[in-house]
């Protein structure tokens, strides 16, 4: 099988930094690593399986209600994930709140279905969906890593910066509250794009 299907979405055509898709529901969950990881997993699963299902039924879908059929398939998976999280990972589902529902309108999912699932066989579609979800997840986790480490001094809730460093304990260190605020996620994303496009010069936009 063509390796590009799963290699490209992660590096060359990453859905967030290159195609600029799916930022909506992404950034608000990157304050802490835990929710970001669950969100990344959920999106990967939904993208993969809805791509798979739509690809399976692609020849039967009436053209006029195409978008609605796709939305229904995606929404079904999102509701299933939401129900499962509520039952088995209640704390995390509370932290993700409305953003789980917003996976439905995550442009990556509809984008991949339209661009790939509708025109390819089920198995490649599944892999394409999973790879794109993964490419999206990596960015989420990278952003969350910096925001949690610099903003709260922890990773996955475990203290990383030694407590004795903090000013209140007589040290010199203070958490940077700016990283916790929503705007910092966007600025970090800008920096990630900067780094990526400095390395991969072919992605730079012409003037």
């Amino acid at each position: 099988m063509d390796k590009k299907i799963y290699k490209n979405p992660i590096f060359v055509s990453n859905p967030i930094t290159v195609l600029v898709l799916g930022i909506c529901s992404a950034l608000a969950v990157t304050v802490k690593m835990g929710p970001a990881l669950v969100m990344a997993l959920s999106v990967t699963v939904v993208t993969g399986f809805s791509n798979f299902i739509v690809s399976m039924i692609r020849k039967t879908i009436p053209n006029r209600i195409r978008i609605i059929v796709q939305l229904v398939v995606v929404a079904m998976f999102v509701i299933l994930i939401d129900q499962i999280l509520k039952a088995f990972a209640y704390d995390i589902s509370k932290q993700l709140s409305v953003y789980i529902g917003l996976i439905i309108t995550n442009c990556i999912i509809m984008g991949r279905i339209e661009a790939f699932g509708l025109g390819h066989k089920p198995i490649p579609s599944l892999i394409d969906g999973l790879a794109n979800g993964f490419g999206y997840g990596i960015i989420l986790v990278v952003v969350a890593f910096f925001r949690e480490l610099l903003g709260s001094g922890t990773l996955f809730g475990v203290q990383i910066i030694p407590l004795s460093w903090y000013v209140k304990n007589g040290g010199f260190y203070e958490n940077n509250g700016l990283f916790i605020l929503p705007p910092m996620a966007l600025i970090l994303l800008g920096v990630i794009v900067w780094v990526q496009r400095s390395i991969q010069k072919e992605l730079q936009e012409k003037k």
Binding site: S25, M76, I79, V98, L102, T105, L186, I187, Q196
Partner: protein
Amino acid sequence: MQDILNIFVKSIFVDNMVFAYFLGMCSFLAVSKSVKTATGLGIAVTLVLTITLPVNYLLNKYVLSAGALKWLGAGFANVDLSFLSFIIFIAVIAAIVQIVEMIVEKYSPSLYNSLGIYLPLIAVNCAILGGSLFMQQKEFADVGLATTYALGSGLGWFLAIISLAAIREKLAYSHVPAPLRGIGITFIITGLMGIAFMSFMGISW
């Protein structure tokens, strides 16, 4: 009255869809290259949000939430359909977008020419679905407050996209480092605008 004003101002400035919740970012970033197109999309989002949110509010209150079907009879008092809310909300949004598109096309071709191309984009705009989901979470007391929230959120989104478009138009004349050109610098500008908008957080009365 105070409630209405409070929600209206808060949803435009404090709970801004873009800067506080990152909703509708895809089209926000893609369609903010010129003020003219941004205005079109902004109006379309405000319009669709203001129509879909009250509809979803009524559906949520009288059909979906736990015990909402009481008006059908005592036997329905324990029915909880809230697990269907995502799918119903998105279906309502997709249907209303379709209807609005048809109406606009039929009665005002000139408006359709300027707005029409944005309407299909809106069905999958997270700001619209996000509005409905936040409405469900905030549990507004009546449909008037929900509509106010919708209008305020739409205007907040509108305000955000035209401001960004105006900045990007000026930015065309600036010398931006090559790797940051285009999307990179737009992320950073949006972030800085978000920080500026955070100063509205102190508003309260």
